[in-house]
């Protein structure tokens, strides 16, 4: 395997392709070889040279790569929730086993238009419901730092592929933390853009008012490059608005003139944050001050209710969105003599336990007797959370928190306790409820409580809606000061 090519960042590889120093096909071949050796179960489908799916699906790779395009020749691991024409798309569910969509998601199409190629489809929690990838219908993806631990979720395969050097970059979706938490647990960068920045067309819907597509990359510049290509209004998604002025590539070297609020509810006073995570968080906050940023405490009084509101609103939306999987138009059908029985058998066999749990929670929360007590109140809590952020942003440019309260946990550790699993998203859920952008960058390594080898810790920066470029710029400066060593204690490389 050509290790030198594998170590290039997206920006570096694209620059070499542009200058003619590196052939796009040679670069793709190096990654196809790396992806073929996937021991992390990170990819559910891989582009194999010359296969029918390759011809249909990675069309860009059959064309001459136009070296002037910004992502010329860059292979991307695409979360299996994005429809890709002619390429299997399962959303991690057995109910869509073997499904090959008739069209391609806008986000993927835009990456292709920018010169990128689909390298493979990444493993995920079924319909993006989960925080560990253990809810995948195809077995969990594993954490490249320690294969006995989870990569996080739901975009766990995307994060594992990037951290495990199977792909130079990936895209995922974030509804309550599904990009940022796995990025943190795998030691890479993951960004959830402002709601509406990237089209949701062709992204299999989980909770439509929260779902947003974003990049998982080795560094902040690469995240900006991918978002730059993907953002924009799309006639096929009426909630897409794009980002005015587009995305600038980050260049900041310091944080002078910027202010950062540390919300006591999600950092200082929060329960359940591991001591190692807290230590890295405090060290990173000190780095912000060294870079000239101003830091002080702030409050988000309703943020602790984020999990409660989220686990009403997201299942409610999911229970409606998942009604389409009924054995009629695509995917699994369990044959039966009777229509109702066919629906029931198909859904009983096709969906895994977490999906069933959320459909039941959602339908319960929307039922006439409980609608106001659950759904109505949760929507009002959502308003309060958004108001809390708006108030914090009157005084601060950004709000910072740990991304995940803990480092990567062991496989099986939280599968018996859904609530414990849900609390993995304690620090990431409030941002999508408010529709604001947030990024997780690797900030260092720490032992889990109770001991063990060092594992990555993520640091989260959140900004006001449509501050995506400014947020990337601040993250870039901080990333330079952190100088995270990706091959320090782990990784398969």
């Amino acid at each position: 395997m050509n290790q030198e090519l594998i170590e290039l960042t997206v920006a570096e590889a694209a620059e070499r392709v542009r200058s003619g120093e590196l052939g796009a096909d040679e670069y793709l071949a190096a990654y196809r070889e790396a992806a073929a050796g996937d021991s992390l179960n990170a990819l559910l489908w891989r582009a194999e040279e010359g296969s029918q799916a390759d011809l249909e699906g990675t069309r860009a790779s059959q064309d001459e790569v136009d070296p002037d395009r910004p992502l010329a020749g860059i292979p991307v691991a695409v979360k299996d929730i994005f429809c890709t024409e002619g390429i299997p798309t399962t959303a991690g569910s057995r109910i869509l086993e073997g499904y090959r969509p008739p069209y391609t998601a806008t986000a993927v199409r835009r990456l292709r238009d920018a010169g990128a190629r689909v390298l493979g489809k990444a493993n995920m929690d079924e319909f993006a419901m989960g925080s560990s990838n253990e809810n995948s219908g195809y077995g969990p993806a594993l954490n490249p730092w320690d294969s006995g631990r989870v990569p996080g979720g739901s975009s766990g395969g995307s994060a594992a592929a990037v951290a495990g050097r199977l792909a130079p970059c990936a895209i995922g979706t974030d509804t309550g933390g599904s990009i940022r938490q796995p990025a943190a647990l795998c030691g890479i960068v993951g960004m959830k853009p402002t709601y509406g920045a990237v089209s949701r067309y062709g992204m299999i819907a989980f909770a439509s008012s929260l779902d947003q597509c974003g990049p998982l990359t080795r560094n902040v510049t690469d995240a900006a490059l991918l978002l730059q290509a993907m953002e924009g209004r799309d006639a096929c998604d009426s909630t897409s608005v794009g980002i005015e002025g587009g995305i600038d590539l980050p260049s900041r070297e310091d944080l002078k003139g910027l202010s950062f609020g540390v919300p006591r509810e999600l950092a200082g006073e929060a329960e359940g944050i591991e001591s190692g995570v807290r230590e890295i968080f405090e060290r990173t906050v000190a780095l912000i001050e060294e870079l000239g940023g101003e830091v002080s405490e702030t409050e988000l009084p309703h943020a602790p209710h984020g999990i409660s509101a989220y686990y009403v609103l997201a299942p409610a939306e999911a229970s409606a969105n998942l009604a389409r999987f009924d054995g009629v138009r695509y995917g699994l059908r369990v044959e039966s003599e009777d229509l109702t029985e066919m629906y029931e058998e198909t859904r009983a066999r096709g969906f895994g336990p977490e999906v069933k749990r959320r459909i039941m929670l959602g339908t319960y929360a929307l039922s006439s007797g409980y609608y106001e007590a659950y759904y109505g109140r949760a929507q009002r809590v959502r308003t309060k959370i958004a108001e809390d952020f708006a108030k914090a942003f009157e005084r601060f440019d950004f709000v910072v928190t740990p991304t995940s309260p803990t480092v990567a946990f062991k496989l099986g550790e939280r599968t018996d306790d859904p609530l414990a699993m849900y609390l993995s998203d304690y620090c990431t859920v409030p941002m999508p409820l408010a529709g604001i952008p947030a990024i997780s960058i690797p900030a260092g390594l720490a032992q889990p409580d109770g001991g063990g080898s060092d594992l990555p810790v993520g640091f989260q920066i959140a900004g006001p809606a449509f501050s995506d470029s400014a947020m990337l710029d601040a993250a870039f400066a901080l990333e330079g000061a952190i100088a995270f060593q990706r091959n320090g204690a782990g990784g398969t490389a």
Binding site: A235, H302, S308, D338, R377
Partner: protein, 69 residues
């Protein structure tokens, strides 16, 4: 699963302690106005492409078992 669902609902019930009197519900986070595009015909997916993916296509449609079996 009943026990798990009760545990989750107990946690969710904490929002009943909040004073939410007069707070507007949020269903969508960004201010959007509905805009209508011109009603111009354009090509859609081919029927064959779509039916090819169905478990039981028949006569240009999706066939399902009888609802009255």
């Amino acid at each position: 699963m009943a026990g798990e669902l009760s545990g989750i609902l107990d946690h969710v019930d904490r929002i009943s302690e909040l004073d939410l009197e007069g707070v507007e519900p949020t269903s969508h986070v960004i201010a959007l106005e509905n805009v209508l595009r011109p009603d111009e015909p354009r090509p859609s997916w081919s029927r064959d492409d779509v039916l090819e993916r169905a478990p039981d296509p028949a006569s240009g449609a999706f066939r399902v078992p009888s609802p009255q079996a």
